[in-house]
Amino acid sequence: MRFFLRRTAFYLFTAWAAITINFFLPRFLKGDPVSAYIAKNQGLISPDAAAALRTLFGLDKNQSLLEQYISYWKLLLSGDLGRSFSKGLAPVTDVIASALPWTIGLVGIATIISFVIGTTLGAYAGWRRGSKADALIPITTFFSTVPYFWLGLIAIAFFATTLGWFPASHAYDKGASPELTWDFIGQVINHGTLPALTIVVSSLGGWVLGMRNMMVTVMDEDYVTVAQAKGLPPRKVLINYAARNAVLPQLSSFALSLGFIVGGTLVMELVFSYPGVGKLLLDATNAKDYPLMQGLFLIITLTILVANILADVAYAILDPRTRQSEA
Amino acid sequence: MTTLEFKDVTKRYRIRGTGDFLALDKVNFTLTSGKTIALVGQSGSGKSTIAKILTQLERATSGEVLLDGKPIPRRGRALRSYRQQVRMVFQDPFASLNPYHTIRHHIERPLRLDKVVPNEEVENEVYRLLERVRLEPNDVIDRRPHELSGGQRQRVAIARALASRPSLLIADEPVSMLDVSIRLGVLNLLADLQRENNLGVLYITHDLATARHFSDEIMVLNRGVVVERGNADDVILNPQHAYTRELRDASPNPDKHFAAPGTTSPRS
């Protein structure tokens, strides 16, 4: 139990830290584009929307920093992240809400697939080291050093444009509107294959290498020799004794590197013009739509935090020592 | 004649979740130069905690540790001179020497730190110390720990401890990780050094046999409490406390076993 208490305390602290960074980000950056925008669109913005924007961006100097901080939190808790300039003053929260599922679908699933495939390949490479399986390491490492966006561009140039196997962009055919029909789901999968494939291929290297090294270390442990001495079939030794222990550090590093990986794969959405949070963030940057950018950064961080929690829960399930020893 | 006294020393560890763990409970003893005391106890008896408190790597929760009557200073020059008087040899020869540095560095550091000899004398002093622990200086001085055997490494550790000319030496299981045939060699070395320098040695071990042969007195420790103390032979040959007796009978003792063939030894 104690283990969960400590972990939740850490997550709350991280969430608070992310929100606080988001609070201070606009404040210490120079320039004040927001009030210029408000001044320009005096008529369009309702007074309370303007007030919300001023709090979000710390524009009302008369309030002390602390008061601004408190009202900032009030806004957050009420789910108001201000108005998006580039999206016709629509509430930022709604804009993000429409894009988030796509990102979770594409980046989330692709990252999990990449982790699972990478770990299995790594286990196999660790198990059969010295054989041709060793060739796996340089290949996957090469793909992991290749920049994501470049791999995406090449994939589009090759598979989509030249071979025409997959559509080059968007999440579904033009004109179609999102609804739960098989045809639409078919489109989504069709559109999503290429970007997902490039994410998996480019992030595979890290997992394969990590798992192989862990397998090599674990296989010299005594309990693996005991399993052999017990005459257990090799497959049982590989899975229940060797891989089961080797996957633990792999899982904890997965949890912690989510920030880096998800951050990187968001660019994939730009290359494939996929309607996720990543593309939204890049468009907002070009359009200097600061409220949307701030909101996006916060939501992305919190989503990664949630993914982190899930990974940690999986770790606790797999490793009994964390449950018992801490309690 | 330096004396180091433990007065009602208690040590409590706060372990998260399971509350306090009493490692030492009102331990009293005196260590004087010129005499070897063996501290015998099984794993978890608290004998290493005593060593850590003696070398000020840890502080006692309550009770006093007095060197020549004065309590151990907290920091500053006085602590430095305390540390110069009380030196320790660790159990694991593989871990007690820094893998990155050469043997020369290990012996020089205490010499320079405590300015035991003027700088130009340091080189000879290092050679002298290595010879005193029966190591051929030229053979080892510029080598790194992993290039030496366990026995050689433990001798380097002893030379390092002797560098600051301490009056008291704490040996925490000095031979338990060494090969059987060289254990007596290292213990004999410690015994000779103890006689030559009139050192006070605290020999910490779980092995009753070596404790008996290499110390004047034996102290038996069980779960942080000194259950028996006395002259080495008395404690082993006719132990007063039940725990000591149990410990002695449990230790392998072929002499008694083969003493009179056919007689079955008492089964308790």
Binding site: L29, F149, V224, G264, V267, M293 | A95, D142
Partner: protein, 374 residues
């Protein structure tokens, strides 16, 4: 119970005890960087060296200025005058690549240095101090790990019209130090409890000496590998930022080339415009990973032996994956046929057997008789 018998270990290490060699400052220095003395690191260092040379002598090497326009050769494929062809404005792609190298390396290494400094300070301090100080520093490190690097960079970089190289490096460093700090903290904590550090404390060594002289040399390998890791991340980060267009084109690097290529419809036809830039980034990344592999194998020799030894044994017909010891009785003495693993029936797909390799021991003591009973 380690793999039985340390006799093996003694033989594997150099058998004859070397005569004492003088520890000159040079050997001390060479010893500190002995981690780079293996195949993988050397290849990595050579490729890196090549890029550094290109960065330094860019001006001399490049046939044209990066933005010189040759209007007679718009969108030309590789030719004698333009080895790597030209852009839509007739700029020489090869020259742009050469000049771009400097941008990438300068920012990459600057970010690496800043990030490693932060990682060492926070990681080692957190590792050495115990209790709540260590916990809070570690919590801060983990926060920076959870925060997505690229989005933060995008937001910070986009606030500035013309961000300086140093600022970009700073932002990259700010988002890249956490991983190194975490690894360093773990290693420092394990070192702190080792006997030789306790011995130094017991001998009254001052704190700064304990950290600088006793602990730091043993951390060099980890620091080096976290530096290399951060540089790799910084290079990827920089080129991605440039590709997105968040970093203005004044700071020419391989990412900017790809930005121009993508903006001006280079895909998919003008391959010479976008392929080389991507390959350079990958090659640099590969070189840095090779260096990291070399360091990993130096820190954990078991990894190195795993692959090589297994290959050697396969050549000798020992089935490496066999969980049963091979029997190779020489025909003269043994009656049984030379069987066992070697002639185990080769069915179609050999059962996935447990692969085990005798670990290469830490360099063993000189004479086997005196080895410690572990």
């Amino acid at each position: 119970m380690t793999q039985p018998e340390t006799a093996v270990m003694a033989a594997v290490a150099d058998p004859a005890p070397r005569t004492a060699r003088k520890q000159t400052p040079f050997t001390k220095f060479a010893q500190a960087f002995s981690m780079f003395r293996n195949g993988k690191s050397i290849t990595g260092l050579c490729i890196l060296g090549f890029f550094v040379l290109v960065a330094i002598f860019g001006d001399l090497l490049a046939p044209y200025g990066p933005l010189d326009k040759d209007f007679s050769a718009l969108r030309q494929g590789p030719s004698s005058t333009h080895w790597l062809g030209t852009t839509h404005m007739g700029e020489d792609v090869l020259s742009q690549l050469i000049y771009g190298t400097r941008g990438v390396l300068v920012v990459g290494f600057a970010a690496g240095i800043i990030a490693t400094l932060i990682a060492v300070i926070i990681g080692v301090t957190a590792g050495y101090m115990g209790g709540w100080k260590s916990e809070s520093l570690s919590a801060i490190t983990n926060v920076f790990l959870v925060i997505p690097a690229l989005p933060l960079m995008i937001i910070v970089a986009s606030q500035y019209e013309n961000p300086s190289l140093l600022l970009i490096a700073g932002v990259l460093a700010l988002t890249g130090w956490a991983w190194g700090s975490r690894v360093l903290r773990a290693q420092t904590m394990s070192l702190r409890n080792r006997d030789f550090v306790q011995a130094a404390r017991a001998n009254g060594e001052p704190l700064y000496r304990i950290i600088a002289v006793e602990m730091l040399p043993n951390l060099i390998a980890i620091i080096a590998s976290s530096f290399v890791g951060t540089v790799t991340a910084a290079v990827l980060g920089l080129t991605t930022l440039a590709f997105i267009g968040v970093i203005p084109i004044t700071n020419l690097n391989w990412g900017t080339i790809l930005f121009w290529a993508q903006q001006n419809g280079a895909f998919p036809d003008f391959w010479w415009w976008y392929v080389p830039a991507g390959l350079c980034i990958a090659l640099l990344g590969m070189a840095l990973s090779l260096i990291n592999f070399g360091i990993d194998e130096y820190v954990n020799p078991r990894l190195r032996s795993a692959g090589e030894r297994a290959r050697e044994m396969r050549k000798k017909g020992i089935k490496v994956t066999s969980s049963v010891t091979a029997v190779r009785t020489t025909p003269t003495s043994g009656t049984q046929p030379d069987d066992g693993a070697a002639s185990a029936p080769r069915h179609a797909s050999p059962a996935v057997d447990l692969d085990a390799v005798t670990p290469v021991a830490p360099p063993a003591p000189a004479n086997p008789d005196d080895t410690t009973a572990r």
